[in-house]
Symmetry: C2
Subunit: 388 residues, 2 copies
């Protein structure tokens, strides 16, 4: 990465949401010139990107033209036009992670087949071409209730997933090519963010535990360190490292796990990028997941993933019943709590459960951090001017 | 600060160097819209500021017009056109720190008189209107050798200071209104960054020790915690808090101290802003000095100044014999050291001893951090393409 040394390196980031914004906050420390491709001129990353380029990450021409502007390409979302990336790579552009990783992960069917092929424990599954084909599978006795249907492509933040309890809820089946999974009786949900560079060096962040808000279908609180036993924790860490190694992937990978009622650790899914479950690393770990992404993209030595302080991360989501220009409440109160670190992404419009920001509480005591995180949740309000 | 809650707050920062850049890195986390006034279009802060405005901070019209664009005004340098600030304040703009603080601190004579009036220990001094007047003072026996001459206005990073050993070095006297100080026999140099908000809340960062490079006349390494005894450390902390209280100042104030050969702690000078001696707080303290500045400017509760890990900060300055477009050497090697945090400011042109960036090394052991900081100094190179 000879160009890093010249202070002229152009890093392209596809999509300009909060992950891109937090990556640029790190990239600016190394004086890297940041280019963002997004279809919204006031996307979160636009306010601090060196250059904002308007265009769609799903469009071949937009992605291709954007790639020709930069020295290095990465992304904050996996649903990118892969054909454009493959062409750019053919023409010599360094893209991290590699387009073939995106191609695999964009399709939850291919993702599951990868797990099966490499002996990675995951819920039993079958793939089907449509809702109709799933009904056929049920009639043939291939599928038993309850089960989970996941669209192979396009799912995000809990969208594209249906839980079918019994024959009476078959009307909820989603349309499109899907995989059908045995429903895991979930005891806990864990996540591991792991990074690998071009020299094959691998570093994993400590296991976090994800607490879900059933209404928002979003991870509601992230706790680090998790409260699972060391056996399960080591299992999750070793699986995450095995997956990134088997993928021969450069970059940052988030792996989500279920721990079932019998204490078995199975992989749920993965994302080839920084992740909500790693936001706490900005304050609680020696190297944040965003700096780690930069290190991997630049093929630099990976940074230490040592946890400095216990941390609890709370998502700040739009309040129910509010849609329109955003207005935050309770900011001053939460900033009076020691150890509270506020991140507002800068989205202009709030909607119910939209991710608008997050707070990481660090403390020498996890119990204290949890207590304060609950206070933050109760105190912060994300309203709209229109409904006030 | 009702506007903070709307995601539309416009923060103006006068001058766009590294201090402004690091302030914007924090402001972007709270989704504050940043405006920077600088005469250089590619100043360090321009790469991440929401809006870069071209103009001189010394020019009345430029400062006044800039102030009319924003909701709140702060600065990264004290040599701002104060008349424009006073007019803007009269028209209702919130400016933090207040223009009267700038007026006082811009003039080292007024600064010293403030210390004397408030019983703050500082080296004995007298003020003179010119080099000629100083010669007169010597003839009248008011001044004895060795002494230090400081220009009342415009000094920065060691410029505007002359050390006069004896009559033979009188040719080195600087021209302009000056103060003449008894030369302190310096044992150590300390610094305290302290903040105060509009509610009168005061928080001080731990005392740091500054090691100087005699060639560059710049603080070369900053060590936190310092190695001075607790009595001197408490003296420095209490003086810093007394000064900001006596000034009734809102904002961040850096106070530099000498410890003389007898162990006495005296104030050297102060700056009404974030400071090189506080850069380590980005990684080593719960709240960085830049977030603290934001909190003070927004009149929010001040953040915790608890030291999380011992830290050593090293300035990255231009190598001797190199002037021109910058090229860094050894970046990959230093990033391989655990605990190394790199900040490159993004200045395009290097000059001998120009501050181009800094590195903060954090470690559970201060000795380890010091060892690595020395390695960083030996490894990093700031060259110019032209001279390679």
């Amino acid at each position: 990465m000879h160009k890093l040394l010249t202070s002229n390196l152009k890093l392209g980031i596809i999509a300009g949401g909060q992950l891109a914004k937090m990556l640029i906050q790190e990239a600016s420390k190394w004086d890297i010139d940041s280019y963002v491709l997004d279809s919204e001129p006031d996307c979160p990353a636009a306010s601090i990107a060196s250059h904002s380029i308007l265009g769609s990450y799903r469009d071949y021409d937009d992605v291709y033209r954007f790639g020709k502007m930069v020295d290095l390409l990465s992304f904050e979302i996996e649903h990118v036009n892969v054909e454009a990336l493959i062409q750019l790579k053919r023409e010599g552009l360094r893209i991290v992670p590699d387009p073939r990783i995106l191609e695999l992960i964009q399709d939850k069917g291919l993702q599951k087949e990868f797990f099966a092929r490499h002996g990675i424990p995951t819920a039993e599954f079958k793939t089907y071409g449509s809702a109709e084909a799933i009904r056929g599978g049920i009639e043939r006795g291939e599928i038993s209730y309850p089960f989970v249907q996941k669209l192979r492509k396009g799912g995000y933040d809990g969208r594209g997933v249906a839980v079918i309890q019994d024959a009476g809820s078959l009307d909820s089946l989603l349309h499109g090519a899907s995989l059908v999974e045995r429903r895991v009786e979930i005891d806990r949900e864990l996540s591991v963010v792991v990074a690998r560079n071009g020299k094959g060096e691998i570093k994993s962040y400590p296991v976090v535990e994800m607490l879900f808000d059933p209404k928002a279908n979003l991870a509601d609180m992230i706790i680090c360190p998790s409260s699972v036993g060391s056996e399960q924790s080591e299992k999750a860490l070793s699986l995450a490292a095995r997956i990134i190694e088997d993928l021969k992937m450069e970059g940052v990978l988030a792996v989500e796990f279920f721990v079932d009622q019998d204490g078995e650790v199975v992989v749920n899914e993965m994302a080839p990028r920084t992740h909500n479950s790693g936001h706490h690393t900005i304050e609680s770990v020696a190297t944040s997941q965003f700096e780690q992404q930069l290190r991997a993209v630049l093929d630099l030595p990976l940074g230490s993933t040592q946890l400095l302080l216990p941390a609890v991360m709370v998502n700040i989501v739009g309040d129910e019943g509010h849609e329109g220009p955003v207005r935050y409440e309770g900011v001053e109160e939460i900033l009076a709590l020691e150890g509270v670190n506020l991140h507002l992404y800068g989205k202009k419009i709030t909607r119910p459960y939209r991710k608008m920001g997050h707070v990481t509480v660090v403390s020498a005591s996890l119990a204290d951090a949890l207590e304060k995180a609950k206070q933050v949740k109760e105190t912060i309000g994300v309203k709209s001017w229109k409904h006030s």
